[in-house]
Amino acid sequence: MPPLLTVSDLTTTFPSDGRRVPVVDHVSFTIERGEVFALVGESGCGKSMSALSLLRLVPKPGRIDAGSIVLEGRDVLALSVNEMRAVRGFDIAMIFQEPMTSLNPVVPCGAQVVEAIRLHEKVTKAAARERTVALFKRVGIPDPEQRFDAYPHQLSGGLKQRVMIAMALSTHPKLLIADEPTTALDVTIQAQILELLRDLRRDLGMTIILITHDLGVVSELADRVAVMYAGRIVETGRTRDVIDAPLHPYTRGLVRSIPARAPRGVRLHEIAGVVPPPTEWPDGCRFANRCPAVLAYCAERVPPVETRERDHQVWCHAVTAGLLP
């Protein structure tokens, strides 16, 4: 069976000073049915833009310049506007970071889910309502009948995110993209939502692309992970492989700088410098100017892929050259 989704050389650019600057740069990955694939990276690394590219929702004036997105054999980038509309929400559903603002504030929550159903399926309002209430129950919203008519502002952040998840699930999508689904929530609520996603995956065999900056969330939920830095994937592999034995200097730095893991009284590991803006990204390895293991040619040459056991891939000159274990 072919993978559910194959993304190859996806490149999304934004205009700046008369040229088009890539914010997603030749990103490639495949997703198998039923797996949770995480895109992890710091803000501005292009992970959210990659997700929006999958739905062809890149905000103007950005646009997808190159690459292909193949969903079950169909090239998403070749679809017409109307066909694409049918894919969105039906084949690929998405939930967003900010449940507070991602729901239309003047439309009752239930109606928003009903709209999502009726956009793609010919069902009566009553049937859609029934389905929505059932979905609400499924995602753990207490008093689903009552909550159906509630406006978003009347719900807590956690409940809103559950409504978002219900909306995303309403048409049984093949793929769910969860863009920082728990970042804006309190820890206890975050745990509840993560638990819900885990349940959904277990019960429905849901395929999920999880976009997050939190390696903890990745570790709890994802089967495979791709680490992005400055528009490119720098390392990918099984979650445990990548987190427990990171190869790329950036991944290593990231893992070591998590304070919760650091013993008290010891200085935290730091990655020097900051992520440069897309206009100042180096030509070669994007991490070259912050890398502790930088080589003379890192900044000029794009690193080749180095594949280790269990498809653990890394793009780093130093690793390829055997200079890093």
């Binding site: 929702l57 109307n82 969105r88 967003f96 003047v106 956009l119 502002h153 909306m167």
Partner: protein, 320 residues
């Protein structure tokens, strides 16, 4: 909500009472009844005539309650205003109510189309430019708007009278006629001028609202669930954007009744705006007082109406 409206009404009453007191000080204390009488009957008039005039208009009593606790102008002023007994014009002794009635029609024939067209043209046009945001249509529209709103209404009036009335001869330069057959040609130019003067600012405001609204997260959600662009604009963006738009519209409604001061005056439309301007020019203090008082009342009403309409259209707003 009820409590809120009641409280706002209470503030409104206080505001109106304040306005009344201010009016009293201005029109009775600063400008004394003697001044008013002389203005009305002329400098040549004998003291006897002035006394008679004052008596006729009820200005022949002491001003303050401490001068005469029973019969004084202050209490009178408040009693009459609060019972909507506007009395007689100082200029020609005609009942002010009659003047208001006579002026309401012409004012409304001007302000209502102006208001309705303003909304009917302003909202779709702004939606139009917002839809084409960041294209040259949008930029051109914005430039036009800024130009339109930067020009003084007086320039519009004089310019339209010269260009449309004098050179192109499309409509009468000014004037008014109550007969249905010809009324349209008189209000056409003032409406065009009024629209030109107000649309620039309105379209710009509405466009900003629409554009801001289109960049909201819920719009992205709507798109992600498969809404087409028309549906996104019509169902999601419009419904949210209508909240500020609606309040901007609602606040104008009460002022339809006060007429358009400059337009009426320059185009010779005998509406309530003209009544006000005439009262100013003709030393018609009682009419002017009435117009200011009515203006203050309408202002208070407009404020409350706006808040209530806000609460009605936006489920997030609860008036406490």
């Amino acid at each position: 909500m009820l409590a809120y409206v009641l409280r706002r009404l209470l503030y409104g009453v206080v505001t109106v009472l304040g306005v009344l007191l201010f009016l009293f000080i201005l029109f009775f204390s600063v400008a004394s009844p003697d001044n008013m009488a002389r203005r009305a009957v002329g400098e040549k008039a004998s003291p006897k005539v002035i006394e008679n005039w004052k008596k006729e208009h009820g200005y022949d009593r002491p001003l303050w309650p401490w001068q005469d606790p029973k019969s004084n102008l202050l209490f009178d002023h408040f009693r009459k205003a609060l019972t909507f007994e506007f009395g007689k014009s100082d200029a020609d002794s005609a009942p002010i109510v009659e003047r208001l009635k006579a002026g309401a029609g012409p004012s409304l024939t001007l302000t209502v189309p102006l208001f309705v067209l303003g909304v009917l043209i302003g909202v779709p046009l702004s939606l139009f430019v917002a839809f084409f945001r960041n294209t040259y249509i949008d930029r051109m529209g914005l430039v036009l708007c800024v130009v339109a709103m930067s020009v003084s209404i007086l320039l519009y009036i004089v310019g339209a009278q010269f260009l449309i009335g004098k050179l192109l001869k499309w409509f009468p330069i000014s004037g008014f006629d109550r007969s249905i057959a010809v009324i349209a040609r008189f209000v056409a130019m003032p409406i065009v001028v009024g629209l030109a003067a107000e649309l620039g600012a309105e379209i710009r405001l509405y466009r900003t609202v629409f554009v801001e609204e289109t960049s909201r997260d819920y719009v992205r959600t709507a798109r992600a669930k498969g809404c087409g662009e028309a549906r996104v604009m019509g169902r999601h963006v419009l419904r949210n954007a209508l909240i500020p738009v609606l309040t901007n519209v609602v606040i104008q409604i009460p002022f339809l009744f006060t007429g358009a001061l400059l337009l009426e005056s320059f185009f010779g439309i005998p509406g309530l705006g003209s009544v006000t301007v005439d009262a100013i020019q003709g030393n018609d203090f009682s009419t002017l007082r009435t117009m200011v008082y009515i203006g203050a009342l309408l202002f208070v009403v407009a404020q409350i109406l706006t808040d209530v309409s806000y609460a009605l259209v936006d489920p997030r707003v609860r008036l406490e």
